[in-house]
């Protein structure tokens, strides 16, 4: 039983995306990468303690999907959601402060890296119980339908998440109620230390949706333009009332399951895989594409510089922010205080 290391040929003909979209995706990916590399350093330095699951290498997925979303559309993630949060418009400073456990964090210091929120940007909460937000995303899509609003829910999840049964339950419900939802499976070949081939015998994941009557396809998840193209179609499909789709994005995480290590210790195989995947860097690839399409290297360098400065400032902000008080541990057990009238 073998799993091809490189992406399978995509099943789609990619239409060129607008230059503005490409630039937006480039900037988004650069911000994610810069943010996370800094997080990695700060974990190494012992300054960040909360478990951080880095998205480095997978940025094209979040960027490509979110390029097609509106602020009121919701996205749902898990333990590895820095990228989803930033791509959907979450405040970078607030995320870093959250990872530092500070009261100025997006979750008020109650969540850490694995629990991010930005309600005004459609990020209603990411949490690290595998698969937990998939049914929640279905519920958000159901709400949209009942409210007659043309908004879409996106459930981001990993290849391993398909092993949780309620993801299958969720897909059936979404299909049955014809909900405006897109299931985005980021197949990075691993669930923590376990390669896909140690967890199932079939390589393909896109069929997960087919059983439930959901149109399903596979795309090169390191190709931002391809992801954006597919996402554009299926999000439009959802938005216009034609129901859910399933998109498998083939990608690879560069770092370990959790923390900044390169995780090559889980096996020789991974070292070889990394060698294959590093050259497929989604950011370098988009950079090349933008140059080909006439964007100046200076402009792109400015984007990278801006991101670095933004992250520098965020680190300062986080460092200088206070922790939530130890006397406040009983706050917010309930969001609506002591009243029956919200």
């Amino acid at each position: 039983m073998t799993i091809t290391l490189g992406p399978r040929p995509t099943e789609v003909q990619v239409e060129p995306q607008r230059i503005g979209t490409l630039l937006w995706m480039y900037r988004t990916m650069v911000r994610i990468r810069t943010f996370e590399e800094r997080v990695a350093d700060l974990v190494d330095a012992g300054e960040i303690k909360t478990p951080c699951h880095l998205y480095i290498g997978q940025e094209a997925v979040a960027a490509g999907i979110c390029a097609n979303l509106r602020p009121e559309d919701t996205v749902w993630g898990g333990h590895r959601s820095h990228g989803h949060y930033l791509a959907k418009g979450g405040n970078l400073r607030a995320a870093l402060a959250e990872i530092f456990g500070r009261a100025t964090g997006c979750s008020g210091g109650r969540g850490g890296s694995m629990h991010l929120i930005a309600p005004s940007h459609g990020i209603l909460g990411t949490v690290p119980i595998v698969a937990a937000t998939v049914p929640l995303a279905v519920g958000a899509a159901l709400a949209a339908k009942l409210q007659h609003r043309d908004i879409v829910a996106v459930a981001f999840f990993g290849d391993g998440t398909l092993e949780e049964g309620h993801v299958h339950e969720s897909m059936n419900i979404a299909a049955l109620y014809r909900l405006p939802i897109v299931f985005v499976c980021e197949n990075n070949l691993y669930a923590s230390h376990m390669h896909l081939s140690a967890r199932r015998i079939k390589e393909t994941l896109a069929e997960a949706g087919s059983f439930h009557g959901i149109p399903s396809l596979t795309v090169d998840g390191n190709d931002a333009e391809a992801v954006s193209h597919c996402a554009g179609n299926i999000i439009q499909r959802a938005r216009s009332g034609n129901g859910p789709s399933f998109l498998e994005c083939l990608t690879f995480r560069w770092r370990g399951h959790v923390g900044p290590s390169w995780d090559t210790d889980v096996g020789v195989k991974r070292r070889d895989e990394l060698k294959d995947w590093l050259p497929k860097d989604p950011i370098a690839r988009t950079c090349r594409l933008l140059c080909e399409r006439g964007m100046s290297e200076d402009h792109l360098a400015a984007i990278r510089r801006d991101a670095a400065e933004e992250v520098d400032a965020a680190v300062e902000f986080a460092r200088s922010s206070p922790y939530p008080g130890p006397d406040r541990i009983m706050d917010h057990v309930f969001a609506i205080p002591n009243s029956a009238h919200a």
């Binding site: 210091g109 209603l124 998939v134 049914p135 709400a143 409210q147 829910a153 309620h166 969001a335 009243s339």
Partner: protein, 325 residues
């Protein structure tokens, strides 16, 4: 006021909530069936349409999760489980998600979901169609638990649960569906967290939960006939529970029986009994007694079922025992 039964009161609460608030919808198993929810949802789909009354696939986890997600997205879902046994498949969305969400995000978002579940037991259904595990949810911070024992509260607590804005588990009992009582028309709330004094008394306090609150009333009446003055409380809310009312009563009577329809060990009655014992320590004249299910699964055959479930008789025995202390 008119008399209606407990099931009708539940149905009326649903109907008025659905009519009053477009955010309210109902999802769960058996909503289009004449049987699953007894009379408590009879023809509700015909009245409000199958878009808002969603009978679901057999997917307790995802359906409950979808209700939680819809709540996060601004709706007021009532998700229905026809049995507690089935709801055990939905522990993740309830315990890990709904209960934690507000806390995790510092109250920036609320989860106005009502998780409705029926205790459905007896009738030779056996151990997997009998369980009353409300104690598990009483244990979990971030979720409220209510258990109405009469038609008025069956309506008022459902209205309060939907209005509350936080996750509320609403637990009804099929053995109460036929109970008659006065129920006001129109929306009204039974306050969450407040017990009701069903009978005032001096000699012993009986705290009843759900079905056992009704049995406690019966026990109170029978004890009165024997010249014993029992104060009977219907706890109504399990979390938060009304410590003040309970302690006030026990400080007066000096004796307490706590009656619950769940298992004995680590059940809801354990919490009430432990709290009374500690906080009314100096007022207690006798040990607190619990009346709860034996620590065994539910049997199936009729004679064993009869021996297994608790009724007013057990409460009377317990009261007598502590009165003799």
């Amino acid at each position: 006021m008119r008399e209606i039964n407990y099931a009708q009161a539940i149905r009326e609460a649903h109907a008025e909530l659905l009519a009053n608030d477009p955010r309210v919808f109902v999802i769960g198993q058996g909503l289009w069936s004449p049987w699953y929810a007894g009379a408590s949802l009879k023809d509700i789909d015909r009245e409000f349409g199958r878009d808002r009354i969603l009978d679901s696939p057999i997917s307790e986890n995802a359906v409950t999760g979808a209700a939680v997600g819809a709540a996060l997205a601004g709706m007021r879902p009532i998700v229905f489980h026809p049995r507690m046994d089935f709801m055990l498949l939905a522990m993740d969305p309830i315990v890990n998600q709904a209960a934690n969400w507000s806390y995790l995000f510092s109250g920036q978002i609320s989860v106005p979901v009502v998780i409705r579940v029926s205790i459905n037991r007896g009738g030779e259904q056996g151990a997997q169609h009998s369980q009353a595990v409300h104690a598990m949810f009483m244990h979990v911070p971030g979720i409220k638990v209510v258990m109405p024992a009469n038609p008025r509260d069956a309506k008022g607590l459902l209205v309060a649960a939907v209005a509350d804005g936080n996750p509320v588990m609403y637990i009804d009992d099929r053995w109460l569906y036929g109970e008659l009582g006065d129920v006001p028309e129109g929306l009204f709330e039974t306050p969450i967290g407040k017990a009701a004094v069903r009978r005032a008394g001096e000699d012993v306090t009986i705290v009843g939960i759900s079905f056992m609150a009704r049995e406690a009333e019966r026990a109170g009446a029978q004890l009165a006939a024997q010249g014993i003055s029992a104060e009977v409380l219907d706890l109504r809310s399990l979390k938060p529970w009304d410590k003040e009312t309970v302690l006030q009563s026990v400080r007066k009577t000096g004796r307490a029986v706590v009656a619950d329809s769940g298992w004995h060990t680590c059940g809801a009655a354990a919490e009430i009994a432990a709290t009374i014992s500690t906080e009314a320590f100096d007022h207690l004249l006798a040990p607190v007694k619990r009346v709860a299910l034996p620590d065994a699964p539910a049997p199936t055959s009729p004679e064993q079922e009869k021996a297994y479930f608790r009724t007013a008789t057990h409460i009377i025995e317990a009261a007598a025992a502590i009165l003799a202390h």
